[in-house]
């Protein structure tokens, strides 16, 4: 026979080698496509949302006029509290006007009420809170770091162009001149917007004040419920179905049910949650506990299906080995099969959590969408039972709001959501890596 050279692959081997390369390339291309989309998505998110992490502040010395804030003059906190935020707004406007005048900025704006376009409506509340906390400040001139209005903030971030403001009834070109001058004077400064991460939701008219903090807590509370319930229940159900269940009608029914539940639209889980948890069990509206329960039901099929798939793939010789030394079936499963199936279980958990963390539709029905995440919970119980929103609901809400500044916040919120998702899943990802092994 002729001796073939190893170094010179024959035609068939070459063809097979090419097929092999192609096959491998398909894999690489598939991953590249996936990662490519991820990059595009993440870039979009980051480019759009970056701005939310910066915020402009104006530093303004405000004269806290006793004539307006404490008409009786006896610094009685009860009396002072009667002055509403509407009483503080003029003080701020006056202060801004005098600052503009003292800086000799050339501007056609000469009335105090023209200045309200510069600062956030939240400024008045800030002043009022400070004054009520320290009544003796009245009569002094105190320098406050006030949130700039969203248009001003947008101007400094490049989101609002000069050409645009001509038709904007909220702000005019002269305002921008003032902002330029203030910036030159160092009185308008951009800084890291930590309030965006820690703050509460704000109303439509104050995008500059809005933050995700409360919604993050709401989401975390829900995820706690989901993890505590859906992981054990899901794994337990899978173990029963895969390892113990006799093959009969009842288990068939369960099996079909589970795959069917995976196809039930999330909004239907919302309908169920509303009926079962709120109307029947009388749990409170808008509570993260209820949200968590609904999301648990929604993630269960995902976890069960993936867990069953990986239980199935554990070779039977492992079970034999355990049974052979006198382990019970239960012990064989919990000691040997389950650890080997762990990667798949964790993957199911990771995907399930990801899905649950990003889901909005069912929250719509149990009242977690809207203007809700405004009060920090005061304690564990309140974190689960008091009305709260969730991150995706908050993002969904912001994305709808009219002011384009909210659009930026919505994207910024997505960045936070993804970071939280990564943090929540990090343990699972690391654990999975530990459990992955070939045999």
């Amino acid at each position: 026979m002729t001796r073939k050279s190893l170094l010179e692959p024959d035609a068939r081997t070459r063809r097979r080698g090419a097929a092999e390369k192609r096959f491998r390339a398909y894999g690489a291309i598939a991953i590249a496509i996936g990662l490519g989309f991820l990059v595009v998505l993440l870039t979009t998110i980051i480019v759009n949302g970056r701005g939310a992490f910066q915020q402009t502040y104006l530093s303004v010395p405000v004269y806290l006029d006793p004539a307006k804030l404490d008409k009786t003059g006896n610094r009685d906190p009860q009396e002072i509290a009667k002055v509403s935020t509407f009483g503080y707004t003029p003080l701020i406007n006056e202060a801004l006007l005098s600052q503009v005048q003292s800086l000799n900025i050339d501007t056609p704006l000469d009335s105090a009420s023209d200045m309200k376009a510069l600062v956030s409506p939240s400024a008045a509340a800030l002043l009022r809170d400070r004054v009520i906390a320290n009544p003796q400040l009245i009569g002094d001139t105190v320098t406050f770091n006030l949130l700039a209005a969203s248009r001003v903030d947008g101007y400094l971030k490049g989101r609002v162009a000069r050409a645009d403001v001509t038709r904007d009834k909220n702000i005019d070109a002269p305002h921008l001149d003032i902002v330029d001058a203030l910036r030159e004077a160092g009185l308008a400064q951009k800084g890291f917007n930590s309030a965006f991460i820690t703050g509460a939701d704000a109303s439509e008219s104050r995008p500059e004040q809005a933050g995700m903090g409360v919604a993050i807590l709401g989401s975390l509370a829900m995820m706690a419920v989901v993890l505590i319930l859906s992981l054990p229940i899901g794994v337990a159900a899978s173990i029963y179905l895969e390892e113990f269940a006799p093959r009969n009608r009842w288990t068939d029914l369960i099996e079909v049910n589970i795959s069917n539940l995976a196809a039930v639209p999330s909004i239907v889980f919302g309908i169920l949650g509303l009926a079962a948890f709120i109307q029947f069990a009388h749990l409170p509206q808008s509570a993260p506990l209820v949200g968590g329960l609904v999301l648990t039901l929604m993630t269960l099929p995902t976890i069960i299906i993936s867990t069953r798939a990986s239980l199935k793939s554990v070779p039977p010789s492992i079970r034999d080995a355990a049974l052979g030394v006198g382990a019970s079936k239960m012990q064989a499963v919990f000691h040997h099969v389950l650890p080997l199936a762990m990667p798949g279980i964790l993957t199911g958990t990771i995907i399930g959590i990801a899905q649950a963390l990003g889901e909005t539709a069912p929250l719509l029905l149990i009242g977690m969408v809207g203007y809700i995440a405004t009060n920090y919970p005061d304690g564990i119980q309140s974190a689960f039972l008091d009305p709260n929103s969730a991150m995706p609901a908050q993002i969904f809400e912001w994305a709808k709001r009219a002011d384009p500044a909210y659009y930026e916040r919505a994207w910024g919120g997505i960045i936070i959501l993804l970071l939280v998702l990564l943090a929540v899943n990090l343990i699972a990802i690391l654990l999975r890596r530990r459990f992955e092994r070939r045999w």
């Binding site: 998505l41 798939a309 899905q355």
Partner: protein
């Protein structure tokens, strides 16, 4: 005794049972754990199980049953009327309000019992945050007082019964425990019951879904003809009435979009899984896999916006009027399908990767040893061995595709259409469930109720598909084995 205290006592009893059961078993074996039938901890668990399970079960049943029994008991005290259900809930509200009044120490318990049905009662209850729709009538108050009396007595009996059950369980465990008792078997059958219970939650959920949909669905069919709903080919709700609510275009849209999504997700996901599990180094895999999983974690609204702002215009520039001319607008079946497919990639890739990782190396070696290339090994040995799991992953992805909403709303448009062109706008059942449920139609109108009928229809259809899928898988498996 409040429920919390009762629960704490029960937990304490459970722990006592564990410790004593374990100790008694060891004592019966003369301190030598090897002489026991099972490990000592099983005896402890067995005792705790006996002490807690019946008690907790009684507690749970009692908590559900008591209000029903009480309703029956007091309903006789109420005047005959056609809205007795409403009255009964009034009774409960008054009773709860009185409880609140007492617990907030506005009045003493004795005073509360002596209250009269006059105008002050409503204000009194309002003071503790218990709103009433109207003033309290005498029969309602009487019934409420009776309710409170029975309720208090019921609570007391419940606590007593639960505690007795726990103690009895403890005693039985104590008596039974000795070194020959099959503690492990007993505990394991307990655990098995737990597993069954967990599996049954799926059925309960299904029942819950059906219950929460079925009544409104029936209501819908009462005001809208079922034949038009199931066989109508037009979907055009309108506020003024005269809506046409044919489900066919929606079902078609659901199917079409899901199929396109799967055509994207399954090949990409499967090839990614193959690459990750068979070609990639552990380091690459450790990074890429979680990265791909981020795709499943991006909120669907982002995908929706992505479809609307990026993919739609992109497709339009190729297939639109300036290109091939097949596409009218950016929103289309194709747009939504593509984007949904991207979202589903990790559903296929991650799970399949885990499952292929579970295929024993010896099988791969066997194939390599015959001179197979890696790709041949994967296609002919690894994939078939992993097939059951991969099918599960694909079914999961398909299920998600059917249930997805946001991407469809933003990517596929809101128009319900029956057509073949994948570049036309269409919409799905789920999208319409959301829009009709949160829409502005008044809530007893067919336009709002149709959401429930849609939910029910989709539920039944997917159930049918799953039954068929199970049947096919079974047949296939039988042939294979």
């Amino acid at each position: 005794m409040s429920l919390t205290v009762l629960a704490l006592i029960l937990i304490a009893l459970g722990m006592t049972a564990y410790v004593s059961g374990r100790a008694r078993a060891l004592a019966s074996a003369g301190g030598d754990s090897r002489a026991l039938h099972s490990l000592p901890r099983y005896y402890g668990a067995h005792a705790a199980m006996l002490a807690l399970v019946p008690a907790v079960g009684i507690l749970a049943l009692w908590l559900v049953a008591q209000p029903l029994v009480l309703s029956g008991a007091v309903s006789g005290m109420l005047p005959e009327s056609n809205d007795s259900g409403l009255m009964l809930s009034d009774v409960r509200r008054v009773a709860d309000g009185l409880d609140a009044v007492v617990s907030k120490r506005v009045v003493t318990a004795d005073e509360a019992r002596a209250l009269e049905a006059d105008g002050t009662l409503r204000a009194l209850l309002a003071g503790v945050g218990a709103p009433l729709a109207s003033d309290v009538s005498a029969p309602v108050l009487a019934a409420a007082q009776e309710w409170r009396r029975l309720d208090a007595r019921g609570d007391l009996i419940m606590a007593a019964v639960a505690l007795i059950a726990a103690l009895a369980g403890l005693a039985i465990a104590w008596r039974r425990t000795d070194k020959n008792m099959r503690a492990r078997n007993r505990v394991e059958s307990g655990v098995r019951m737990l597993l069954i219970a967990a599996a049954s939650i799926a059925v309960l959920t299904t029942i819950g879904i059906i219950l929460s949909l079925v009544f409104t669905t029936i209501e819908f069919f009462r005001i809208y003809p079922a034949s038009e709903f199931f066989f109508g080919t037009t979907w055009s709700p309108s506020f003024g009435g005269g809506s046409e609510l044919g489900v066919l275009p929606l079902l078609w849209g659901t199917l079409y979009i899901s199929v396109i999504a799967l055509l994207v997700a399954v090949p990409i996901g499967l090839f990614s899984a193959i690459y990750l599990s068979e070609y990639a180094s552990p380091r690459v895999r450790g990074i890429v896999k979680p990265l791909l999983e981020v795709l499943a974690g991006i909120p669907t609204i982002v995908y929706g916006l992505f479809a609307l702002l990026t993919v739609g215009p992109l497709l339009l520039s190729v297939f639109g009027r300036d290109g091939l001319g097949w596409m009218q607008a950016g929103t289309a079946v194709m747009t939504a399908g593509l984007v949904m497919g991207i979202m589903l990639i990790p559903f296929v890739s991650s799970l399949s990767d885990d499952i292929m990782g579970g295929v024993p190396q010896a099988l791969r070696d066997g194939s390599y040893g015959l001179g197979a290339t890696k790709s041949e090994t994967i296609r002919q040995v690894v994939l078939p061995a992993a097939l059951p799991g991969i099918v599960g992953a694909v079914l999961l992805a398909a299920s998600r595709a059917i249930g997805e909403t946001m991407i469809v709303v933003l990517g596929a448009g809101a128009a319900a259409k029956l057509g073949l062109n994948p570049f036309d706008a269409m919409t799905t059942v789920t999208a319409k469930i959301v829009s009709q449920l949160t829409g502005d139609a008044d809530f007893a109108s067919p336009e709002a109720l149709v959401a429930f009928a849609l939910g029910m229809t989709l539920f039944v259809i997917t159930l049918g598909l799953n039954v068929i899928a199970l049947w096919i898988v079974r047949r296939y498996r039988e042939q294979y084995e």
